[in-house]
Symmetry: C2
Subunit: 255 residues, 2 copies
């Protein structure tokens, strides 16, 4: 996840040669039932989760079905075999919705598709102090960020677990969590997604597919993210720093 | 670019209802010679530049040729007509390289393609104080960021001009600069690209297509960005904050 590089450091005009750490970035090609889906640039960890989370998050595979992942780390290829491939979406592959995260994500679902999923838990309640303390943990866990400043972190909190992932890609970190959740056959309606990075509309889409009722970020949401979270029933909490937080939608889950 | 929303604010357990500003995010569909290329989610400003910069940055159009852009802001469609479309790349449309910015960008060039372009100016020199002061200007110019915390900023410095753009998408801001540069028929080998956000490999690809010899960011580069910048002859400066900066590649252009 981390590489050492030689750099020249300037402090005002004074220069010195030194060594620095940077976040590693590598290509991963995802293959679903022998169809080459995409090549992502990502942080080289938890690549099986990333592959599974990506195809689920993009609606290319149905949730809760058997699957097998083969990871060839050397060649950077993750191959998924499953009888649960969503042939409709796979065939509509050409029609992509590119998103604003970086500016460009690929999301095979349209916004309308996101709106049509099952409802998320309405009854879930979270104490605001829990949110403050989980965000605090997220920040302290981020060793790669502390060393390189070059990655995003994300965590999925379900009763009894706090799963943490980092990636050079904001979406990849979320995809890894989705993959972990499915590969470990976890099942909970009460889950919270914590993020270091900004929330744009496609993150809401992914969270919706994961069945997440509450998203908490250290950063800002966009207008479209707020609108979509409002519509699909997700509580969106932004700018969570220290003991402060802004709740943008569905206030009732926060106590 | 900015929308007002009602929020609930928490400071510890104390809650209050208030109004906040968020960065607007809207879809833009780009059409090139009647072929629907992509739908981006972006900040609704300079959309003609974004469309042109996108198709150039992705290698779907040749630089320096005549083109016409029609913008239908209401429907969110930018249509480009040109005799300079790159038919080879347009036909290879299916083969996409998805990048790590957010996690997923689409980049139609492969890394090898980036390596094959003309060389960038080797002779260009920049004083490190100039870099500090330009980065300072970039930060002060970012009004949308100051209000919303939800956008990235980028600027292109060429002798006599400092063009500034903001977008919810890190790449979109760069694409807008590329579009401005081409639509205004500017021509300079001496240019510097300033960025607020992290530098992953695909930003190097876009800069290479723009013929930019020096990239300066407030944030971190990834390992692949450094490797690619080294290979294609770009000077990469990261963590430029106050009077400090790290130079990762091609030190000789910095004085």
């Amino acid at each position: 996840m981390i590489k050492e590089v030689g750099i020249r450091k300037y402090i005002s005009q004074k220069k010195s040669e030194t060594v620095d750490w940077v976040a590693e970035e590598r290509p991963l090609t995802i293959v679903l039932n022998d169809v080459e889906i995409v090549t992502l640039l990502c942080s080289p960890s938890h690549l099986d989760e990333l592959a599974v989370g990506y195809v689920l998050g993009e609606g290319l595979m149905h949730k809760g079905e058997e699957l097998e992942v083969n990871l060839d780390e050397k060649r950077g290829i993750a191959s998924i075999s499953t009888a649960a491939a969503n042939l409709v979406n796979l065939q509509a592959w050409g029609k992509r919705y590119v998103t604003s995260g970086c500016g460009k994500g690929t999301s095979f679902f349209q916004l309308n598709d996101v709106r049509q999923h099952d409802s998320v838990s309405i009854l879930m309640k979270v104490k605001v102090e829990e949110i403050f303390s989980a965000m605090n943990i997220l920040q302290r866990k981020s060793q790669v960020f502390l060393k390189t400043g070059g990655v995003h972190s994300a965590a999925l909190q379900i009763p009894g677990s706090f799963i943490f992932r980092e990636d050079v890609g904001r979406h990849n970190a979320v995809d890894k969590l989705f993959g972990y959740y499915v590969l470990n056959k976890l099942d909970s309606r009460e889950k919270i997604l914590y993020l270091s990075g900004r929330i744009s509309s496609e993150i809401i889409g992914k969270a919706r597919r994961m069945g997440v009722p509450v998203i908490v970020s250290r950063s800002a949401p966009t207008s479209l993210a707020i609108q979509l979270a409002e519509e699909v029933g997700i509580t969106l909490v932004g700018f969570t720093r220290g003991n402060k937080a802004n709740v943008y939608t569905h206030y009732t889950r926060i106590e």
